[in-house]
């Protein structure tokens, strides 16, 4: 790797870092064998964590940060003064293989600014994936960000080689999209999501490979005026209508060279956390968007407490529930009890009547759960209905430790 390539790597990793959709999970088990390279394990491995607490699992870079478009929230937009660089297909292949062999990454997450034309750009992305797989027997994870305006046959070809395809929706409403990303077309984005979703289903039925780890998208929160409720409604639709595997939320982050169309201050990162928690409740805990939103005010989630606790505090009439008899659905709604803990509880209580200390061994969230639970030796009494319950459960804010 010469200095010029090192320099490009710096620029094109920097401009790719605002995309949150970088997990490497969901691929079927696969190995490269005696002549190939790599494997996917199903769960994906985080190979490092940066000081922002987020994991490094894939080599996340842009093919180029030149772009014809002018999306206000994006550092790579046409009107930004950021330094530009561009990789060749072979350079990306070399970097991916080099880092993979050193066990630094699980694979590649490749995105790109739109250069020359959407088709040309999409073709370059597809060629990287094809070269890795076909010429190098690469069995690691490949995630390609598709260019929605590209022709269907290119996206089709990309799906032959990639583990996951994604298209960033970026903003929850078509109106915001018009305002902040004038050249993007919400309809086109959803049409491609539909196309990919359909292809994934077909390929499953025909036992072919097509983006086997599904598709995902990212929404930026805090750049426009969308409420949490409308963001979650959009996600809910995406999960149901297009079978998306994941929706990622990325709190709008101040960028160097920010457009004046944007707020100068970032939204609290906590908002992003709360959305992830809410998304989780949506997908695995049987909550509806309305229930989650009802835990907050005016369409916004409560930033001080997690959405499950918020819901429980507003629905105290449904608590306390008895760990020894409540059904799984209701246990899942107890603050502090995760799905894994609930499964263990259900299994363990077939053998014994659970006391509070038993529950403590099965769940690390007992402190919060106490007020909502009945166990063989425990009843919260009036605790559930105390007006200061919220204060009692919320730890005072901690200072971030910088060292």
């Amino acid at each position: 790797m010469d200095d010029a390539l090192l320099d490009k790597l710096g620029i094109l990793a920097d401009s790719a870092k605002y995309d949150a959709s970088c997990a490497s999970s969901g691929a079927k088990r696969r190995t490269g064998g005696p002549d190939g390279l790599g494997s996917t394990t199903g769960a994906g491995i985080c190979h490092a964590y940066t000081p922002d607490g987020r994991c490094v699992s894939l080599l996340k870079i842009l093919l180029t940060n030149y772009c014809l478009f002018d999306c206000a929230y994006c550092i790579n937009r046409r009107s930004s003064n950021v330094r530009r660089a561009r990789f060749s297909v072979d350079e990306v292949v070399r970097l991916t293989l080099g880092f993979y062999k050193r066990n630094c990454i699980e694979g590649l997450f490749l995105s790109s600014g739109i250069v020359r034309s959407p088709d040309y750009t999409m073709e370059q992305l597809m060629l990287v994936a094809r070269t890795l797989r076909r010429d190098h027997g690469f069995a690691g994870y490949i995630h390609l960000k598709t260019i929605p305006e590209a022709s269907p046959w290119l996206i089709e070809q990309a799906g032959l080689w990639a583990d996951r395809l994604s298209i960033n929706l970026e903003l929850a409403s078509d109106r915001s999209l018009k305002e902040f990303a004038p050249e993007k077309d919400g309809g086109a984005i959803k049409a491609v999501m539909g196309q990919i979703g359909e292809r994934i289903l077909e390929a499953k039925e025909e036992k072919r490979r097509f983006s086997p780890a599904g598709q995902s998208t990212q929404m930026i929160v805090g750049a426009d005026a969308s409420t949490d409720l409308s963001v979650l409604e959009t996600s809910d639709t995406l999960y149901r209508r297009y079978g998306l595997r994941r929706v990622y939320y990325s709190a709008f982050s101040p960028i160097p060279e920010a457009s004046s169309a944007l707020p100068a201050k970032p939204p609290p990162l906590q908002r992003e956390n709360r959305l992830y928690q809410a998304d989780w409740l949506l997908r695995y805990y049987g909550f509806t968007v309305e229930e989650i939103a009802a835990g907050g005010e005016g369409g916004m989630l409560d930033l001080g407490i997690d959405p499950k606790l918020a819901w429980a505090l507003k629905n105290r009439g449904r608590f306390p529930v008895d760990v020894n008899s409540a059904d799984r659905e209701m246990l899942l709604r107890v603050p502090g009890l995760g799905a894994r803990a609930v499964d263990k509880i259900v299994e363990a209580r077939r053998h014994t009547t659970l006391r509070l200390e038993d529950v403590a061994r099965l769940s690390s969230g007992l402190k919060r759960a106490r007020a909502f639970l009945i166990a063989a030796d425990h009843h919260p009494g009036g605790l559930t209905d105390r007006t200061d319950l919220r204060q009692r459960l919320v730890a005072p804010p901690k200072q971030l430790s910088l060292f």
């Binding site: 190995t31 490092a48 987020r54 994991c55 050193r102 077909e202």
Partner: protein, 474 residues
């Protein structure tokens, strides 16, 4: 009966068999660190070749991980667990709240976490052999005795590389064929010297950090300090954290850049230009693309003049078409040529193509057996067919057989029942006048006899009718 240092699963298994066979109570055994158990009192000597102890699978798996733990009590705890299983508590591991089960679950979890961290945080360095061969070496300091347990992961992932993993509790060596487990090692000097990729990795790590989100607590929860010494990129952490607040402040204070409204005309024009502008350009795309059906050496393109009055669409190229790269040259193609002639259609004046551009086959020895494309596959190729016909602009499109009719109508068509004129839609109201008839390969499959001859005559009659449709009444 010796237990080795570290994770001695075999030794433990042997000891356990003896203890169970002799009916020794767990409380009467002292397991001294990694060494052999010693028995108090006047217990009988353990039988050397006791029979295996049958255990439920999850218990066996748990033993496999827990023996890797550093806790000197691990063997004693496992012995107690096994004793209870033998006494009849076979589903003991479901008793998550049981103190012993809980304690073992914690040990199990710690070992699994350590395994996971070794899979994640181990870094190979390329070392330069005098002969220039690629070789990779890593140094790692695991928390527990897990080195051998990580071997399957690294062998599977890096089977095609030659590598060595060195640790203070053992080492692994892989030469692309076999694995050698070796003794503890010392930290090697200057591993990442001259490795530009290691340098590149640090640059990447620094660049991918977003200072506006600094959160060292979350980082340390997942990547505790004890691992940093062997992670080359970790050297950058203190400086990244220190400079983060200033970098963010600078971004926020910097006045938002006045949008340099570069004109979007170029962007918009470039987008409009992206669809192929000619049949030749479309054909280049098709040729460059990979088959969407299994098999196929290369795409077989349509053949004939643009502007042909009749376009004939078949199913997909066959064996011979695939080899020659031309449509309708095999037996079915020859039959088609004769029928066209009889119907008064000049083959060279028509446009001939297939719904699916690649030969789908299954290999049986040397033979390549034709396989029909699925509805999904037909749909993948539909875009190309529609574009192609858009360039050719025929006055009539003839679909040969059900697959072609499916591609042109988007629905399944019963050819024998619906043969004859039909409107083929593209999108909305756009489309072509069409005609559906059988595929000549269907005629080839009919057993020779009267029926077959009649079918051939019907086919020619269809083609004649199609010709009549473009030439008008005359």
């Amino acid at each position: 009966m010796d237990l080795k240092d570290g994770a001695d699963l075999d030794g433990f298994r042997r000891a356990l068999r003896g203890l169970v066979a002799a009916g020794v109570e767990p409380d009467d055994v002292v397991w001294s660190g990694g060494a052999a158990p010693s028995l108090f009192g006047d217990a009988a000597p353990l039988p050397a070749d006791a029979p295996p102890v049958p255990l439920p699978r999850p218990v066996g798996a748990l033993i496999g991980t827990v023996v890797c733990h550093r806790d000197p009590e691990r063997y004693a705890l496992l012995h107690r667990l096994v004793r209870r299983v033998v006494r009849g508590e076979r589903d003991i591991l479901d008793h998550h709240a049981d103190p012993l089960v809980h304690r073992l679950a914690l040990l199990d979890k710690a070992v699994r976490r350590d395994l996971h961290k070794m899979h994640a945080f181990l870094r190979f360095h390329e070392v330069h052999d005098p002969d220039g061969a690629e070789r990779y070496v890593a140094w790692f300091e695991p928390g527990h005795f897990i080195v051998e347990a990580t071997a399957p992961f690294f062998v599977e992932r890096f089977e095609s590389l030659v590598w060595t993993i060195l640790t203070p509790v053992g080492s692994l060596q892989w030469d692309r064929r076999s694995l050698t487990v070796g003794p503890a090692a010392l930290r090697p000097e200057g591993l990442d010297r001259d490795d530009r990729f290691a340098e590149g990795w640090q640059r990447y790590y620094e660049s991918t950090f977003n200072p506006a989100r600094v959160n060292p607590t979350a980082m340390r929860a997942e990547m505790p300090r004890k691992y940093w010494a062997n992670l080359p990129e970790a050297a950058a952490i203190p400086a990244l954290i220190r400079s983060a607040p200033a970098r963010v402040q600078a971004m926020i204070e910097a006045e938002a850049a006045a949008p340099r409204r570069r004109t979007p005309d170029r962007a918009v024009a470039a987008m409009a230009r992206q669809e192929p502008a000619s049949l030749a350009e479309l054909n280049r795309i098709i040729l460059a693309a990979d088959p969407l059906v299994p098999g196929a050496t290369k795409a077989v393109l349509g053949e004939g003049p643009e502007g042909a009055a009749i376009a004939i669409v078949g199913e997909q190229p066959g064996d011979q078409e695939d080899l020659e790269g031309r449509p309708f040259v095999g037996p079915a193609g020859q039959l088609l040529t004769r029928a066209l002639e009889e119907a008064g259609i000049e083959r060279g004046g028509a446009y001939l193509t297939n719904a699916v551009k690649h030969f789908k086959f299954a290999a049986r020895g040397k033979r390549r057996l034709h396989q029909s494309p699925t509805a999904g596959e037909v749909k993948h190729y539909r875009w190309w067919l529609m574009k192609e016909l858009g360039f050719v602009r025929p006055r009539l499109v003839v679909a040969l057989g059900a697959t072609a009719a499916l591609a042109l109508t988007g629905r399944s068509v019963s050819v024998l029942r619906e043969r004859g004129p039909m409107r083929f839609c593209r999108t909305g109201s756009e489309g072509w006048d069409g005609f559906v008839t059988v595929h000549p390969s269907y005629l080839l499959r009919l057993p020779a006899g009267d029926g077959a001859e009649q079918a051939c005559r019907d086919f020619v009659a269809d083609l004649r009718q199609a010709r009549g449709m473009v030439e008008g009444p005359g």
